[in-house]
């Protein structure tokens, strides 16, 4: 033994520091990639103009069900919802009662809790910001249903024969479903079905990262609100006139 205690400790310390260099530099590089990668890409977003929504016969709910084969059994316990219109009344002393109809759907968060809890990675965020479910991988554990603060997700409890739109797969029993921003239409360059067919044109869809798009202009100039901002999830559905 030609090494004294001091040299041994010095060498050990150097070795420990050296082993940290590679993973540390990789982490730094990865964080930089994420920062630069997110800016130029498309990020789909929706603006809901609540001043235009009259709550008609909740036609958008029906349009959505027909477009995406969402089953409707007429029983609250089993019904699946992609889009639902909530009727909200504001009672304040001295102020006229105000009624609002708020279309609620998946908010397509930047930081979605449903994706974090998914044990099979069936829920994921696509590069263009749409949160989707890979129904081939979903095992129906419903962690995501509990995790979502917007109650956007529902499980298909009963076998469904609804197949109004053959372009979209039929709903499979035992998997979780939710609004997909009509990804099959978006990929073809069309707007989601509810945006296109809303009788009052109360919904606007577009690319948030493109400053010339209608959506980006409204978000920049008008007073829009997001739901549950205290959760810091970065939802991409904006409500005007809430």
């Amino acid at each position: 033994m030609g090494m004294d205690r001091r040299t041994f400790l010095k060498l050990g310390g150097a070795l420990a520091l050296g082993s940290l260099i590679t993973p540390g530099s990789q982490l730094l590089l990865a964080s930089q990639e994420n920062k630069t990668g997110n800016e130029s890409k498309t990020r789909w977003a929706m603006v809901v103009d609540l001043d235009k929504c009259s709550g008609c016969n909740k036609e958008c709910e029906e349009i959505c069900r027909d477009e995406n084969n969402v089953p409707h059994y007429g029983n609250e316990r089993y019904d699946a919802y992609w889009l639902r219109v909530a009727d909200v009344k504001q009672h304040l002393p001295g102020v006229e009662t105000r009624e609002r109809h708020i279309p609620l759907m998946c908010q397509h968060c930047d930081n979605p809790p449903c994706v974090h809890v998914c044990p099979t990675k069936a829920s994921f965020v696509r590069d263009d910001g749409i949160t989707l479910i890979d129904e081939h991988r979903c095992i129906g554990c419903r962690y995501c249903v509990i995790a979502c603060p917007y109650r956007a997700r529902s499980l298909i409890f009963r076998k469904s024969d609804k197949w109004t739109n053959e372009e979209v797969p039929k709903m499979m029993i035992g998997v979780v479903t939710k609004c997909s921003f009509c990804a099959h239409r978006v990929d073809k360059g069309q707007d989601p079905a509810c945006v296109e067919k809303c009788p009052y044109n109360g919904l606007i869809f577009g690319n948030m990262n493109d400053p010339n798009s209608e959506v980006a202009k409204i978000i920049a100039t008008k007073n829009t609100k997001i739901l549950r901002p205290e959760k810091h999830l970065g939802p991409k559905v904006f409500y005007k006139g809430l």
């Binding site: 590069d127 263009d128 081939h136 053959e166 990804a183």
Partner: protein, 123 residues
């Protein structure tokens, strides 16, 4: 003693291979090996996305990869199931004959809860 053991072993072998020997003797083996005939689509519709022998062996791989691309990245290309169905319109005479023979059930449309559109015409 040794002789008896060898005879017993041979007898055991014969009993073990009896089903194969019987079916070989009756000539059924050759009949059952014949591959099923499938009805190919109209040649006027053009070429398939890959050549025939490749498709025969690897169509399931192409479909699975396409599924992954379409669902997870939104890239919808030529290898999609709906693109197959644009030429191969009859599922019973094209897909099913081979799939029944091979004992394979494609989950996309054949099992009970299948959720992708499949042409069901029998003409």
């Amino acid at each position: 003693m040794k002789m008896r053991a060898i005879i017993a072993f041979l007898a055991f072998l014969i009993v073990l291979t009896l089903p194969f020997l019987v079916s070989a003797g009756s000539g059924n083996i050759l009949q059952s090996v014949q591959a099923p005939e499938i009805e190919l689509p109209d040649p006027e519709l053009g070429e398939c996305v890959e050549d025939v022998s490749y498709m025969r062996a690897n169509h399931m791989v192409l479909l699975k990869e396409e599924r992954e691309r379409a669902v997870r990245h939104g890239e919808r290309g030529d290898y999609s199931l709906s693109n197959c169905f644009s030429c191969h319109t009859n599922i019973t005479t094209f897909c099913k004959r081979c799939h029944d023979y091979a004992g394979v059930k494609p989950g996309c449309f054949e099992i009970e809860e299948g959720c992708h559109y499949a042409p069901t015409s029998n003409d």
